[in-house]
């Protein structure tokens, strides 16, 4: 953040206690954004940092970002995973530049201060001076400075971290309802990374969370979903939240038969559409799914877990100011996957990511939302599909998950 301390954000006018009409300022105001960094990304919340599989052995590291702060996820000598802020304790260098690698210690290039894999300072060149001259003062101890360590929690191979060491335990943070679906995918099976996609989207970071908490749009914006019944307003489905309403799952099941009314409602429906190469939708039901064929899980504030038929990914949100964010996709499978299943996941990955048949347009609409919200401060959105109440449902014709997130946001932000 570039501002001195979270500036006093002027109170935004919500017209009452509700969270169904979100004022434009919530998406554009730099002061609000600065407070979001302080209270949400650097506060008592768990942020996704990566998968254990990305740092397989001692010294393996992955550099990533929480809010706007660079951090290093590294496996230490005991095989535990540390998350350390990427900033030298001497003169503040963001010293780690490579994205992944393997190291014995962490060395800052400027003056070669040396840290072990737990972030402890272990060596300072010329600390005792040279020929009895100079060096660090007598009262200096290596214990005085270190890399800023984050609190770390890992579950089912997924690693989270928090700048606030007083954050509640991860399972409690996610909450039992959502945890059930988190565990459905991440039940301890070894994971295999299939690759990454990286986008920079010119919109406020919350718009991406809204997008994945919005079961209203897929059947309308994403023609593919409609036409192939992967997602339709009439699909059997469930929306669940944690008790705060900050996290959520959208769970549904595929349906080959198209409901007339729904098809008609969606002008995007193409009855006659056929794939020339059907392999992209060669879906095979996996036992661990159970009934649902899709489960989109949002864990506030910075990650989405995708299971869309056979395609699996984590999607990480890295805010870059109030009006843009980076969106990092990590596609994965399981060690237990057959070659056919691995290939299938890759085939279906054509639906997702920056060029995906059913996700490229999400990035586009988010950009136009930001453009529209920027136009004037007197505007507020209307998220009242399904009313103004907040609660789990067994249908998808509601914006309740969005209302839930903003109810929590108002509490944390005191806005």
């Amino acid at each position: 953040m570039r501002t001195r301390q979270a500036p006093q954000a002027e109170a935004v006018d919500w017209n009452g206690p509700g969270s169904s009409r979100i004022p434009a300022a919530v998406y554009v105001d730099p002061a609000i954004y600065a407070r979001e960094l302080e209270r949400i990304f650097y506060g008592a919340h768990w942020n996704y940092v990566g998968l254990e599989a990305e740092v397989p052995t001692t010294g393996s590291f992955k550099r990533t970002t929480i809010g706007e702060r660079s951090v290093i996820m590294v496996r230490n000598r005991d095989g535990n995973i540390n998350v350390l802020e990427n900033r030298c304790a001497h003169r503040g260098l963001r010293f780690c530049q490579e994205r992944v690698g393997k190291v014995r210690t962490l060395v800052c290039p400027y003056h070669q201060w040396n840290y072990n894999l737990d972030g402890k300072l272990i060596a300072v060149p010329f600390r005792l001076g040279v020929k009895g001259q100079g060096g660090m003062p007598a009262d200096f101890s290596l214990a005085d400075r270190r890399l800023n360590p984050l609190k770390v929690a890992s579950r089912g191979g997924v690693v989270f971290a928090s700048f606030d060491h007083d954050v509640e335990p991860l399972d409690q943070y996610i909450g039992a309802e959502v945890l059930t679906y988190f565990d459905r995918t991440f039940n301890g099976r070894p994971l295999v990374v299939q690759g990454y996609s990286r986008q920079r989207i010119r919109g406020n970071w919350k718009l991406m969370m809204e997008n994945i908490k919005d079961p209203y749009h897929p059947g309308l914006l994403h023609t593919w979903f409609v036409t192939f019944g992967l997602w339709r307003a009439d699909n059997q489905s469930q929306l669940i939240m944690d008790s705060h309403g900050r996290h959520a799952c959208m769970i549904s099941r595929r349906n080959e038969v198209v409901d007339e009314d729904v098809a008609n409602a969606a002008s995007s429906y193409r009855a006659n559409m056929k794939l020339h190469d059907p392999r992209m939708l060669d879906v095979v039901h996996e036992p661990w799914w159970g009934a649902p064929t899709v489960c989109m899980t949002t864990v506030f504030p910075n990650v989405i877990f995708q299971q869309q038929v056979n395609s699996l990914s984590t999607r990480q949100i890295i805010p870059q100011g109030p009006d843009q964010f980076d969106f990092v996709w990590t596609h994965f499978g399981f060690e237990e996957d057959s070659a056919e299943m691995s290939a299938r996941r890759l085939q279906q990955a054509n639906l997702f990511g920056p060029a995906g048949f059913v996700s490229a347009d999400d990035g586009e609409v988010i950009e136009y939302c930001q453009d529209g919200l920027r136009q004037s401060e007197d505007f507020a959105t209307l998220c009242e599909l399904g009313g103004t109440a907040i609660g789990n449902t067994d249908h998808m014709v509601t914006e309740t998950l969005i209302r839930g997130m903003y109810r929590y946001w108002r509490k944390v932000m005191e806005q």
């Binding site: 690759g195 986008q199 994403h222 193409r270 190469d277 890759l346 085939q347 347009d361 990035g363």
Partner: protein, 158 residues
């Protein structure tokens, strides 16, 4: 000898026609540059260098290319933009019987309405090409892009 020289010129022409087709938005003609059993892959240099199999696009037949064209034209909502390919000198790397392995660097400039032109995507084509009656066709087209951050989305083929 002349044949050899002509081939080198024809490969250059192939890249010129290919980019002209895409930059004019003639997407219906795009699959014509490929063989029936072609493969078209767009992959980040990161994934490529680390041998990670994920592609940004991974189309495994000309049929899949037609499906992409349909999506671009009918189902993928997006803000219209212009593409402009600037392709460097192509180079024939090797020959395996009828098949030519060729590579060329490319840069795509994107222009959205009311916006300045911007660097959109830069990388390298690594292609397997065959000569058919109507001319040269791609059996395999691999677009390995350096660009770490895709500016929102890639709608049109590269």
């Amino acid at each position: 000898m002349n044949a050899e020289i002509e081939l080198r010129l024809n490969v250059a022409d192939l890249y010129a026609s290919y980019s002209a087709c895409l930059d004019a938005g003639r997407f219906d003609d795009w699959p014509e540059f490929f063989t029936e059993d072609c493969r078209y892959r767009v992959v980040s240099r990161e994934n490529h260098d680390r041998n990670l199999p994920l592609g940004t696009m991974d189309l495994q037949s000309r049929g899949a290319l037609l499906d992409r064209v349909y999506a671009v034209q009918s189902t993928l909502f997006h803000a219209p933009y212009y593409q402009r390919h600037i392709i460097g000198p192509a180079r024939i790397l090797s020959r395996e019987g009828e098949t030519i392995l060729a590579e060329a660097n490319y840069l795509v400039i994107r222009t959205k309405r009311d916006q300045p032109s911007e660097v959109f995507n830069a990388g390298r084509y690594l292609d397997r090409i065959v000569a058919v009656q109507q001319g040269l066709r791609f059996v395999d087209k691999l677009c390995i892009f350096d660009s770490e951050l895709i500016p929102n989305s890639i709608i049109y083929p590269l």
